[in-house]
């Protein structure tokens, strides 16, 4: 049966949640380095 809640690319939605949170952390680290570098 087609599962209408099956996530694309990953096996579970939890992996998507980790991706979103991980990307946020990565951005914050990048912004911190960006701020420090150009200050």
């Amino acid at each position: 049966m087609y599962n209408e809640d099956k996530p694309p690319l990953f096996k579970s939605w939890t992996s998507w949640y980790y991706l979103v949170i991980g990307f946020l952390i990565l951005q914050v680290v990048f912004f911190a380095l960006f701020t420090k570098y150009f200050a």
Partner: protein, 571 residues
């Protein structure tokens, strides 16, 4: 504005209206009108969510914020990705399972009718007034800079989108938002590219970043720490951004019908989830690039004379008052300062090309000092504008980017950027009108006024409500014209209600033992606390969302355990 700019502006706006009408075909019932028959793919959900959140002020204000205060405003969005995850785990499955039209329907199923009606009323009050301001805010900026009549600008800003919003409902809103965002991003990218091209020869993109950073405009991460400890009145820092921003985003995306109504149009819960999660991925970078344009505009004005105040209207008005001599004295000081700035930066391109770091540091230190002097002069002008009580805001942040566009961008691009302002406004206003109509129809009309209407009658009534809210918002925009202080008050209104509404929903999801009476009275008490704190303290407004939500949860649990304990036992 030149004729080619007018052609670009009118052609862009007309194409959106025609496209909106073309996409208006939908089934003549509530499902078709408010939820696009629940058939939207995730990428349209994403664009619709983004188009609803990004108003005209987003594109006008953010570059101005970066110019005056640096890029730290981006931290305001740090809580958003976290909120998207919580929404997908908690709110979304319940909303989809119940097949609701408005978020507030869920509250009746979980609590009672009065809690649903109260929450929906708070939404209608705050969203109705703030949408009126969303019409007025960009109109006053355009009318000031272009000399347009403010009353007519209000009507164009809030009126033309009504044509396709009334006829096509949620479907027309989503499809036009897709096209609008495409044009908006193209316009902003071209503006950013042109700023760099307009910099003097020898100053490239990385040099511009270096200058901007040295002059304090690339302060993306700030901690809010001072010598006296954490500054609770500091508006944007990483802590208020992550915590306050999380509660604000959770409330806005989880309980505000203008957003809930967008992702309920998805053809499945999977599409809703993807739309929300992709929003969590792209929102922060998007805001970063909009702010970066402002930081680059700041560098541009280091090499070109910057206006003392970016909105000409209040300056001209001050000239007619007894403050004209004070203003004239400041203008003379500013002219001297501009000349000093010109001499200081003249050496910079050759120094940068020769990579003479010590020399560059010396010039930048001198420029920093001159910038501080200029900021002091700008503060004095703002004080004069306030004291003289002339018409117009004493804050010109929202005028900076558009003034730059008008003064320096090439013909054609000016028209496109003016169109960008209209389209950004239309995207969020159209979604707001659709959501106001759906809450009125589903939470009030169907509940209290007429229960037995046919699908066709409900569809027609819904169109009338959309039209009615459109007219209401234009009337609000016309009424607030010339009432500067009231505008700020209405903008603050959202932060009074968002936290409390979120608190009601969080109790519904997580405090299973709390009933309708406890949460209703807790919400009222929470509202009093939030408004009281706003009046009595200088707390930065982002914190009010967290305080409102947490207060409702605590009050509800206490009330349920004490005054309303018997009700629970009976239940």
């Amino acid at each position: 504005m030149s004729t080619p700019d007018w052609i670009v502006l009118v052609a862009t706006l007309l194409s959106i209206i025609i496209y909106g009408i073309y996409r208006s075909r939908t089934t003549r019932d509530l499902d078709g009108y408010f939820l696009s028959n629940r058939e939207m793919p995730w990428y349209l959900i994403l664009l619709s969510i983004m188009g609803t959140q990004a108003s005209a002020i987003t594109f006008l204000s953010a570059p101005g914020q970066a110019y005056t205060d640096g890029m730290r405003f981006v931290q305001y969005y740090f809580g958003l990705p976290l909120a998207m995850v919580v929404l997908c785990i908690t709110f979304l499955p319940i909303f989809h399972k119940l097949k609701i039209y408005t978020a507030y329907e869920f509250l009746e199923k979980r609590f009672d009718l009065k809690t649903r009606t109260f929450t929906s009323f708070l939404f209608l009050l705050s969203r109705g007034l703030s949408t009126g301001i969303s019409v007025y805010a960009p109109s006053i900026i355009l009318s000031s800079l272009l000399g347009w009549n403010i009353y007519i600008t209000n009507i164009i800003m809030g009126g033309l989108l009504i044509i396709y919003t009334v006829s096509g409902g949620a479907k027309a809103v989503a499809y036009t938002q897709q096209l609008q965002l495409g044009i908006v991003f193209t316009g902003m990218f071209l503006a950013g590219y042109t700023v760099v091209k307009l910099l003097p020869e020898g100053i490239g993109f990385s040099d511009a970043l270096s200058i901007s950073g040295k002059m304090g405009r690339l302060n993306v991460i700030t901690t809010g720490q001072t010598d006296q400890g954490f500054d609770w009145t500091d508006r944007y820092n990483i802590f208020s951004g992550v915590i306050g921003g999380f509660f604000l985003a959770l409330s806005y995306f989880g309980t505000d019908q203008s957003q809930v109504g967008r992702y309920l149009t998805a053809k499945s819960i999977r599409e809703s989830r993807m739309g929300l999660l992709m929003n969590g991925l792209v929102k922060v970078p998007m805001q970063f690039f909009i702010l970066l344009i402002g930081a680059l505009v700041f560098v541009f004005y280091q090499f070109n004379p910057s206006p003392l105040f970016f909105n000409k209207i209040p300056i001209e008005e001050v000239r007619q008052t007894s403050y004209r001599d004070s203003l004239s004295a400041i203008e003379k000081q500013h002219a001297v300062l501009i000349e000093k700035k010109k001499q200081a930066v003249a050496k910079l391109p050759s120094i940068v090309s020769a990579q003479a770091d010590a020399e560059e540091e010396k010039v930048l230190t001198e420029m920093k000092g001159l910038q501080k002097e200029e900021e002091a002069l700008r503060s004095q002008v703002k004080k004069i504008i306030k004291s003289s009580q002339v018409k117009g805001e004493a804050n010109d942040t929202n005028y900076i980017f558009l003034r730059f566009v008008m003064d320096y961008l090439p013909v054609g691009l000016v028209g496109l950027l003016i169109a960008v302002i209209f389209l950004a406004a239309w995207g969020s206003i159209a979604a707001a009108l659709n959501s106001l109509a759906s809450a009125t129809m589903v939470d009030f009309h169907k509940k209290f006024l007429s229960k037995g209407q046919s699908d066709e009658q409900e569809y027609k009534t819904s169109r009338l409500y959309t039209l009615g809210w459109g007219i209401f918002c234009i009337v609000v925009a016309e009424l607030v014209t010339g009432m500067g202080s009231l505008i700020e008050a209405v903008n603050v209104l959202g932060s009074w209600f968002y936290g409390v509404i979120l608190g009601i929903f969080l109790v519904a999801f997580y405090a299973k033992r709390v009933g309708g009476n406890a949460v209703f009275w807790a919400a009222l008490a929470g509202e009093v606390l939030v408004i009281g704190m706003y009046i009595q303290t200088n707390l930065a407004w982002l914190w009010l969302n967290a305080i409102g939500a947490i207060a409702v949860i605590i009050f509800a649990v206490i009330l349920q355990g004490t005054i309303f304990q018997k009700e629970r036992d009976k239940g």
